[in-house]
């Protein structure tokens, strides 16, 4: 497929590349450090709690506590976010071939899947809180909620961006010439997805 002949490409920069896209990649590189630090902090402290609850089954002061994580539920959440990446890239492909209807459908699908993921996270947080886990209950709770909470906040921002694009599309202010807007939103969305791929494996699947 050919790139859309965007007016943006006419911009002359010293690199020959669009500075907005360059800036987005620079931002995503800095986000790697942000999430890398949060994941490292989680792995460092998750086994050092002196009180329940724990991520997986644990024994504290001779008492066995059942683990909190619900892997089947989180797998579905991970699947939802992965599929939202597919719909996001299909929205970009649609606008690049001037398919307005396709772009709107796929953008709306991505936003809906994002909201479904956030709902799942809200449900999970509520369940964990009911089990006694909070930001201040133990080191596992602090690092877990900070890490997944920041990720959830990123997903929320992504949904807001998608909804803004959808409004622009319905007002006729998002056409093939502005496909870079969708591409930049897509880069952000896919990044949020790859961060969850890492969190799902390191936090949920690999247990102490």
């Amino acid at each position: 497929m050919q790139h859309a002949p965007t007016a943006d490409a006419a911009l002359e920069t010293s690199t020959g590349l669009d500075n907005r896209k360059l800036l987005m990649w620079l931002f995503l590189a800095s986000e790697c450090l942000f999430f890398g630090s949060l994941i490292a902090a989680y792995l460092l402290y998750r086994n050092q709690s002196i009180g329940a609850p724990c991520p997986s089954d644990c024994v504290i002061d001779g008492v066995t506590h059942e683990g909190l994580f619900d892997i089947p539920f989180t797998s579905v959440s991970a699947f939802v976010l992965l599929m939202s990446s597919v719909s996001m890239v299909l929205a970009l492909a649609a606008i690049q071939r001037a398919d307005q209807r396709g772009m709107r459908v796929w953008l709306a699908t991505t936003a809906l899947l994002g909201m479904l993921f956030i709902s799942g996270q809200a449900f999970e947080f509520t369940e964990f809180h009911r089990e006694g886990l909070s930001l201040s209950s133990n080191l596992f709770g602090t690092t877990f909620f900070v890490l997944t909470g920041f990720h959830g906040a990123h997903v929320t921002v992504g949904v807001l961006i998608l909804l803004s694009l959808l409004v622009m599309a319905f007002r006729g202010r998002l056409n093939q010439a502005q496909s870079l807007h969708v591409e930049l939103a897509g880069l952000y969305w896919h990044f949020v997805d790859v961060v969850w791929i890492v969190i799902f494996t390191l936090v949920y699947l690999i247990q102490p």
Binding site: L17, S37, V89, H190
Partner: protein
């Protein structure tokens, strides 16, 4: 008048017709089409199912961590290379992102090594 305003004018549109912009930025290749994206999506789904299945197979407990890390790296690469187009776009984008990843990986390893923690 901003560049965006100029593009919206009659003169701006005529200028775009006279001097159409390049189809690709320097060092870039054509992005894949919807069929390929759906194939990658199917691959991601299958790899996720394998991840979850491996998690429940007790016989694989000894090699669980390397298998899960490899599968996770595979998913990460598929999304970054195809959906984020690093495979097709200018290499400067890859350099910037991989630079950030390496820096993050270094911080990750140093923090865990300093405090004697591990993945399990």
């Amino acid at each position: 008048m901003t560049l965006a305003d100029y593009r919206g004018t009659k003169e701006g549109r005529e200028e775009a017709v006279r001097h159409p912009p390049a189809a690709h930025a320097p060092g870039e290749r054509a992005h894949p089409g919807p069929v390929e994206y759906i194939k990658i999506g199917a691959a991601l789904f299958i790899v996720t199912m394998i991840e979850v299945a491996v998690y429940y197979i007790d016989a694989l407990d000894d090699v669980l961590v390397p298998i899960l890390l490899a599968l996770s790296a595979l998913k990460f690469s598929l999304v970054v290379m195809w959906f984020m187009h690093l495979r097709f776009d200018n290499r400067m984008f890859s350099t910037m992102f991989v630079g950030g990843l390496i820096l993050a990986g270094a911080v990750f390893v140093v923090v865990l090594a300093t405090f004697g923690a591990g993945l399990v």
